[in-house]
């Protein structure tokens, strides 16, 4: 499965969510589908997209929050899964796109290529709703189920290690940041 195809399939739902992505292909591919003020791309601070998503979900308990994170980013901050499990915000969904690679810096294999099972880590960290979804249809179905479920959900998807050659967005990172804050806080542009 291509990560891009999975993102395209769930994009209609993502439009209605507060979305935080990790850096790399997941950020640029979501941006290429169409930027929205409810999307935030954490283009550095590797490992912290999930902590940000947790902070957002705890701060805005009435609004649905989705984290889109690559395997290498999550591997850098595995403790986040047990922190998420501990607080379990029901409005939070964490989608892990696992291409078994640090693709952006040149395609180095990540630890998931040698057997680390991030769905297993999530489950054993105490997260009850962990779904493996390795086809576009399965991702769509799992994400729809997560949206309906008043519980923290994790979706783990294996994707091909391919992505766009060009990683620069046509929008500045501070422009994204201030637009996102304004959107969340209900201010006018």
């Amino acid at each position: 499965m291509l990560q891009e195809d999975a993102l395209r399939a769930i994009y209609p739902r993502l439009k209605k969510q507060i979305v935080v992505t990790s850096l790399g292909t997941v950020a640029i591919e979501l941006y290429n589908l169409g930027h929205r003020p409810n999307f935030f791309y954490l283009e550095h601070g590797m490992g912290l997209a999930s902590s940000m998503g947790l902070g957002l979900a705890l701060s805005l308990p009435e609004r649905p929050v989705t984290i889109l994170e690559g395997d290498a980013s999550l591997l850098m901050n595995l403790g986040t899964l047990s922190t998420m499990a501990r607080y379990g915000p029901p409005n939070l969904t964490h989608i892990i796109f696992d291409n078994e690679s640090l693709l952006s810096p040149g395609g180095f294999p990540s630890a998931t290529s040698d057997g680390t099972d991030l769905a297993g880590v999530a489950r054993e960290s105490g997260i009850r709703h962990v779904t493996k979804a390795d086809t576009v249809e399965a991702v769509e179905e799992a994400y729809a189920a997560a949206a309906e479920r008043p519980a923290l959900s994790v979706i783990h998807s294996k994707v091909e290690a391919v992505g766009p050659d060009f990683h620069v967005m046509g929008i500045g990172l501070l422009e994204v940041r201030f637009g996102f804050a304004r959107h969340l806080q209900g201010g006018q542009p």
């Binding site: 601070g45 912290l48 940000m52 902070g55 403790g79 501990r86």
Partner: protein, 170 residues
């Protein structure tokens, strides 16, 4: 335990007066009362962390959502948070109110704290983080109010170093 509960209460009340409603923390001896107060307070969301750097993400999410947060950590937690501070908070202009217990300074008996004490202020200087050492309980409320005001106006991290004189009674 000779951690000052009176001064911890003064600090906690000042955080509440400043409108802080999310506190992230990793337990540390000097912070034991502050963490307990946050845990017992239904108006505050306490997020107990596995590693202090997670707290940068928690505070970033809270700030963008319009909520005021604070981070409780030891100075070694500050050291372990440096990339998050630089590559999230400073890159994205996120205010952080960091309350840092200042171990390894004058009077420290634990040998393992001393290297961290040696470098704490120099690391803050290198990061361009404004900080103040808090030692007088009579000024604690002012120190917290002013630190938060600066963090919010500058959209940058600000640190308050909680000294032995403030936190420890012996």
């Amino acid at each position: 335990m000779p951690v000052s509960s009176v001064n911890s209460q003064i600090i906690y009340d000042a955080l509440k007066d400043a409108g802080v409603s999310i506190i992230s923390a990793l337990p540390e001896t000097w912070l034991v009362h502050l963490v307990g107060m946050a845990d017992a307070d239904p108006e505050v969301t306490l997020v107990r962390l596995n590693k202090e750097e997670e707290g940068v993400g928690i505070s970033a999410g809270a700030h963008l959502a319009g909520r005021k947060s604070a981070m409780l950590m030891q100075n070694h937690g500050l050291l372990t948070s440096v990339n998050g501070i630089v590559s999230l908070a400073q890159l994205y202009r996120i205010p952080l109110l960091m309350l840092v217990s200042y171990r390894g300074e004058m009077g420290e008996r634990d040998p393992w704290q001393t290297e961290g004490g040696l470098v704490t202020e120099r690391v803050l200087d290198a990061l361009g983080i404004m900080y103040r050492k808090m030692s007088d309980p009579a000024l604690a409320a002012r120190d917290i109010r002013q630190a938060q005001t600066l963090a919010e106006s500058s959209l940058r991290p600000v640190a308050l170093l909680l000294t032995r004189e403030l936190m420890w009674e012996e």
